[in-house]
Amino acid sequence: MTSTATETRSVVLERELPHPPEKIWRALTQPHLIAEWLMQADFLPVLDHRFTLRADWGTVDCQVITVEPNRSLAYSWVALGLDSVVTWTLTPTNTGTHLRMEQTGFAPDQQRAYHGAQYGWPKFFDNLDRVVGGLS
């Protein structure tokens, strides 16, 4: 694998929430609550714990990297050819919490992605159908 074959990129989302960090921490770390907003998970807030997120479109393999209760949580996120890390940061504010999510990862290079799409047409278009169906 050459250095040009992968490229690190990030997705960052931030939101001000009118809730205390402790409450948001529960939603981020308790399996029955995670299931309500993210996916089914056998999550434990324990360093190096391996868990799987399950959705109807497939699974995501994860491992806990950082646990700082009510402040920071990070886990690896490996799915659909994407090797990434998801980091949650909770910062208390006067009105609640500033929640930040950053996902940083390596994606296959464009050429391989196009190739994959070309050979994976049936699946690609199945998914597309679902997305388009969901839009209308």
């Binding site: 990030s10 997705v11 929430l17 939603a27 999510m101 994606a107 464009q110 196009y114 278009f125 388009v132």
Partner: protein, 107 residues
């Protein structure tokens, strides 16, 4: 970027158009005549679909004599393949669900 994606989704949402695009991906450059022979619709209808695919940047055309050759441009799919735009949409929805959940939870 969402506009580009909307156009791609709209264009590929039509099964006939999608079938034409898939054929061009599989078989490489093809003439309108050859596409019509197996499309099960008239040549004007095929041409119309190809025009829309071209507008969305999904195919390119090349004129040679009286024939027009079409080929797929997979680069147009980049916005759909790029994982960051895909994941951004995913997380935005999840943040909405998280906020709903927080509003329902007890302190």
């Amino acid at each position: 970027m969402p506009t580009t994606q909307d156009a791609l989704f709209r264009t590929l949402a039509d099964p006939t158009r999608r079938a034409l695009f898939e054929r061009l991906c599989r078989e490489g450059e093809t003439t309108v005549g050859a596409l019509t022979a197996r499309a099960g619709i008239s040549q004007p209808a095929v041409s119309k679909h190809l025009r829309l695919l071209k507008q969305a940047g999904l195919v390119q055309d090349r004129h040679e004599g009286r024939q027009t050759h079409y080929s797929a441009d997979l680069g147009a799919l980049a916005p759909l393949i790029d994982w960051t735009s895909r994941m951004k949409g995913f997380w935005q929805k999840r943040f909405d669900h998280l906020e709903d959940l927080l509003n329902r939870m007890d302190q």
